[in-house]
Symmetry: C2
Subunit: 271 residues, 2 copies
């Protein structure tokens, strides 16, 4: 999916919601465990219930990898089930030397046909660029993450005066464009949000922190939205684990709808 198509989806659904499919076999409703593929069955029902309110879906790959080959099968079925007009994110946080990153790109862009993948910046340009060579595919580079450990290095002040995450934003803009490069920006730090928007006014930002990680949707929408949307806001646990009962999909749908309605209001302010 390209930039224009993604902006169009945001416009037409009045939503920039990404549903995080962090599907944990120990957390899904008991009655699904009798299904042949409980993980896929759960995802399928969540997707059906939320598809009108979400523009993107983000399986966190760790949850599938932890189940071995069965997990990869569930992931493959999930990505095949998702309609072509939603943006798909492999939250994999990969990154390695060039020939290896190329292998990861093949795995996620060709084997599984994801639109995008999250990538860690520590190994620099040649670890990221192989992902950028695929047409209409995206890198979502970690810039500022919302976890506690994010403070260990990302806020380090460099001799030049900027912080490490600012340096990541600056340097990486030479590797890709707003058409194939997004950034992960942790929502719990809305003070930094304005400043980040100044560095990357046009790039899409993926905000992973609304819900369990405690972001403030109004605040980050105020600073993060631009005229093309420019934001994808993820909620995982807050949507998919709203209920552990037979009505889990309905509850997920209602939660997604509530977020979408809030987003609609914020979108109207900028468009």
């Amino acid at each position: 999916m390209n930039y224009q198509e993604l902006s169009h989806q945001i416009n037409s659904k009045s939503s920039y919601l990404c549903v995080g499919l962090d599907t944990d076999i120990n957390k899904i409703p008991q009655q699904l465990l009798k299904e042949k593929d409980p993980i896929f069955e759960f995802n399928k029902q969540i997707i059906d219930a939320t598809i009108d309110y979400a523009v993107a879906y983000k399986p966190n790959i760790a949850f599938y990898e932890a189940l071995g080959i069965k997990g990869w099968e569930s992931l493959q079925k999930t990505i095949e089930y998702l309609p072509k007009d939603v943006f798909t994110i492999a939250d994999a946080k990969r990154g390695d030397i060039g020939n290896t990153s190329k292998m990861y790109a093949k795995a996620f862009f060709e084997q599984m046909n994801f639109d995008s993948i999250t990538v860690a910046p520590y190994m620099g340009s040649d670890s990221v660029e192989p992902f950028l060579e695929f047409e209409d595919k995206w890198v979502i580079l970690l810039a500022l993450t919302s976890n506690e450990g994010g403070k260990d290095f990302q806020f380090e002040e460099l001799k030049s005066g900027e912080t490490l995450y600012q340096k990541v934003l600056d340097v990486s803009q030479k590797w890709g464009t707003k058409e194939n490069l997004m950034y992960v920006v942790g929502a719990t730090r809305s003070k930094e949000f304005q400043e980040i928007r100044k560095s990357v006014p046009d790039h899409f930002l993926l905000v992973p922190g609304v819900g369990a990680q405690g972001g403030d949707l109004e605040e980050l929408s105020k600073y993060g939205l631009n005229e093309n949307g420019g934001l994808l806001v993820n909620s995982s646990r807050g949507i998919i684990y709203g209920s552990s009962d037979t009505n889990f999909a309905d509850v997920a749908g209602a939660k997604a709808k509530a977020i979408q309605e809030e987003m609609k209001g914020y979108l109207e302010r900028v468009c």
Copy 2:
């Protein structure tokens, strides 16, 4: 495998060689393609031919992931085939928020029973610590990588005067010990090697760069070895793709033997 057992292996084989199983379906000898599982067949023959000269094996996970479910099956068979007295490294460069890193740890330490996994430091403490909670399992943290892009951020000078990779070494020593934490140190920079040894005198260092990435074994052994070994030096392409003919395993064995003999000499100098 614990610290003492690894040191013992190094001593008894007079080797600190790690064989990188970056097994690429497009590079393995043609005649293997008629096998049911060419990747595993290649690995099996490489392992048989090199097992007397190597103390560790490091499959780069990307090469398996790129093949989808079949690749994961080949990886699983490979890890099961490796004898218990070699150290196994999942070169996966994972790292995510706490509950997600725990999932990755389960995938590699429980599902696949690897001894260790490479982890990227950008997301800080809570992305690394879940891996350190498994007994006799190891994190191998990226500190200084040997690729060109490694220069983009790792050498950034911080306000404190140290470089980012030094900061990673300093901070991460609070997370683990020499018994469960190693570092990736790119061999192409032996000037930095001495300095790194001062920061982490007792930790094992994994050097990924001998062979195709151009490290100098004598130089890095001089600065990197300590009385417990303290080094694992990886060679991937230089060993496994020595010949594309039917004799590929013999050639790999001979190449591994030559490196081991050189290593034996360097070990005698320090022990």
